[in-house]
Symmetry: C2
Subunit: 498 residues, 2 copies
């Protein structure tokens, strides 16, 4: 009798997981496969599914079951499972079905329109679809905030990085702003004298894809449980049992896509190694978006752009793309650590990337707080871009505030995850390097097991058994410490040799 409430909860959350499976697959399809005219029917079907998931979570019996199960729970694992169920349940129960459906429809429409509006630099057209998205997000934030006592923006942040609040972010990001501009200048001065060779294309899509697949294999991606496809905005989607990553190819530049694949493979390996016996429950799923980005950035920034890894993959690069001096590993390492302020976040180098994130964090926080309106974004974007990276974006919406997909479906509060992820990743690798003699040699010679093994045992197979601070403490012996990111950047970009 004693576990009957928990068993009933497991049944409900398992059903929810199956609905999420459907949502994930049709969501991936929408981005990677769907032809234009399919969008309206797809949007309606996805909204119907959102309503259904919301109904599953707002079933009034869950409240009683959660209360009963909490009294019955005797072990830590069950308590952790209940904690995560309750988090998901609370979020849903604070939002009316009408709002869930309206958000889904508005997001679907705005994202779909954005796909052509971005290319057409059509801010006015975008704004029409975007206003309802902002309206839904604000109502959502307001409702979540009232119940939790958090500020509205923090209530949205909680969905992506539970426990992280804007005061802490403002503090962390404020510190980054204190040293980042100086570091960027210093590195640019240092690199001004460096000679880099540009790889000479074209690099056919088929060859780039074959190279990407081989690198994914090297990194441990399980191709019987996932795929690589193409989408306008690269992402990692699907479900833990069937992970779908995407990229986009440019025949004149393979570097972006290649490193993008390394990044998405980091997300994918996390999903593929979540605790399989728990993956149908919230406790067995990814900890947070910050931790998710910490996996992709551990792969991309800590491992992927390191000279040792680039030395390892250089023969593969040359095998698929042809032999030329510009593809020598030392030149690739210089290219992949080249610092150059630019307009586009996804094209940004590792060093200027945080500036893109901080700008977005500040704008979205102001937008949700009602301090600015949607139409104020371009001006604010221009102003902040000028200060942060000295770049002019006036009138260039395409490469300014229209460049990202995140806001189109109302994912406000997501952006900070990228820089938090970079910080976590730097902290993992500091620990890993301290505990693993000759780590660089292992990497250079193709033994990636010390890296993936460490991530697997400390992060992947932990799912959401621990809350983020406890997970980071257990993995690295201390709480989130942004100093590791700064140290990593100074080491990679200023040290004379690495």
């Amino acid at each position: 009798m004693s576990n009957s409430s928990y068993a009933a909860l497991v049944a409900s959350f398992t059903r929810l997981y199956r609905y999420q499976h459907l949502a994930a697959m049709v969501g991936w399809d929408q981005a990677a496969m769907m032809p234009t005219k399919g969008n309206e029917a797809r949007g309606a079907a996805m909204a119907e599914l959102q309503v259904l998931m919301h109904r599953t979570l707002t079933d009034p019996t869950l409240k009683t079951l959660l209360k009963e199960a909490e009294t019955e729970a005797t072990d830590n694992a069950t308590r952790a499972s209940l904690r995560e169920m309750k988090r998901v349940w609370q979020q849903a129960n604070l939002l009316p079905e009408r709002l869930v459906e309206a958000s889904s429809l508005a997001g679907s429409r705005c994202e779909h329109g954005w796909r052509t509006q971005r290319a057409a630099n059509d801010w006015t057209g975008f704004l029409q679809n975007f206003r309802p998205v902002v309206e839904c997000a604000r109502e959502k934030a307001q409702r979540l905030a009232e119940a939790s006592g958090l500020a509205p923006y923090d209530a949205l942040l909680e969905q992506f990085e539970p426990g992280m609040h804007s005061t802490q972010l403002t503090h962390i990001f404020g510190e980054v702003k204190s040293w980042l501009p100086g570091l960027i200048r210093e590195v640019m001065d240092k690199q001004a004298g460096e000679v880099t060779l540009s790889p000479d294309g074209p690099f056919p899509v088929a060859a780039q894809r074959a190279l990407g697949l081989e690198i994914m294999g090297l990194l441990g991606f399980d191709f019987d449980a996932g795929r690589l496809d193409i989408s306008l905005h690269p992402f990692c989607g699907g479900v833990a049992e069937d992970v779908r990553i995407t990229t986009r190819y440019r025949e004149d530049d393979f570097m972006q896509s290649m490193m993008g694949i390394v990044h998405e493979t980091g997300h994918a390996c996390y999903e593929q190694h979540l605790p399989r016996d728990l993956v149908h429950l919230p406790v067995g799923q990814a900890r947070s978006m910050g931790i998710h980005e910490s996996q992709s950035l551990a792969f991309e920034m800590q491992l992927g752009r390191s000279p040792a890894f680039l030395e390892l993959i250089t023969p593969l690069v040359k095998k698929h793309l042809g032999d030329q001096v510009a593809l020598d590993s030392a030149n690739l390492a210089r290219l992949y650590s080249r610092v150059k302020p630019g307009l586009i976040r996804v094209d940004a180098d590792e060093l200027t990337y945080p500036a893109h994130i901080i700008l977005r964090f500040e704008i979205e926080a102001a937008l949700i707080a009602g301090e600015i309106e949607a139409e104020d974004i371009p001006a604010l974007w221009d102003e902040k871009m000028q200060v942060a990276l000295g770049l002019d974006t006036r009138g260039n919406y395409r490469d300014g505030c229209l460049q990202d997909i995140h806001w189109t479906d109302g994912s406000f509060g997501y952006f900070p995850s990228y820089t938090l992820g970079a910080m976590y990743a730097a902290q993992y690798f500091a620990t890993l390097r301290r505990d693993t003699p000759e780590l660089e040699t292992h990497i250079r010679t193709g033994n990636l097991a010390p890296v993936t093994g460490w991530l697997d045992s400390h992060i992947w197979r932990q799912g959401s058994l621990l809350e983020t601070p406890a997970l980071i403490l257990q993995a690295s012996g201390e709480a989130l410490n942004p100093a590791y990111l700064r140290a990593h950047l100074e080491q990679r970009y200023l040290a004379d040799s690495q």
Copy 2:
């Protein structure tokens, strides 16, 4: 007030349509995209969706609403809509949820296993997964039969071809059996003296795909509302707003895939031209599987394999696959009308195809009636194949009873649709030819509008507004008349010149 019941029904059936959208897309994905290890989670999610659709249809309020709406209905269109809603509703309400879920899971498992078991010629392994499928299908047939007063197999047939019963099929097919073997012999004797040239491959997949896409365009496929992909077993899936057709390529033989694409494009055009304002309701959806096959076979057999059409596409074939004498249109016409009894249904020529269908009809009817068991199928298959086409399939399950996907998920009653479709298609073209002077000239010169326009106005845009016999009568001026298929075959295969 007066239309409130009908409006409530429309709301329920619209929700059902959105769930069907999800089912169609993840079903397509399972066949065309999904990696192996995704299958278990996919199967669970799809079964959950089946249960949900079943629940939507068994909501007790629907019964009252249908009754009320029937009294209120004043126009023919609403009455037709209610008739089709009721058909769907009745089917669902006769089946318990447990059976729906068990059927979905058993079908998913059996189909997935079949993908490797077929290749491995593993009948024993297949049988283990297949027995539960048969068990579910028999229970389903029994329950539907009890309520409708039909025989169990007829109750399954009703799902694919409403109104068609096995007595009528036995009669029609019996007649075909009376003239088909003689005709096959006669044609083979005639063709024995013919010289045909074999196209000399390899034909790269990319070139075949480009050719296929161009032919799809010629036939009127809307690429903004659909896609062409690859699957083990070609099919037309997706939804009316986003139609997904598949093919499979062999580099040593482009002919199969090319004509397969013409076939699936026939299915696709039907879906793409269903009445858009009604497509979310049963009355706006495809009439039946027999009518669906009549569209694919109108495209493939009546149009696609005709000398006029082959003459039209020959320049495209040569453009993509290279110029060689074997690709001359006269030779292509000879190749595409070459009669040669073979083991594989999907590889069969137009003339021997009905023999494959009649064999399957007889076996599945006996299986559902309980006259034979699953393990009896191979022996019966061998025996019938020997009689029908003089071929030995003993021990060769791969090319015998394991060759088709249909039975793996319990779609018993589907096979007759192919030959019914061929009969309907021959009847349409007899009408079309009678009413259109110079039809062949139009086709040869690339004006396919007389064909697609006729199909659009007589079939596509009719959806399910009429029942099948009325639809056929309205389109062709008479009831289903198998004599048109015989006349077409004698004309194409025995006339001295066409």
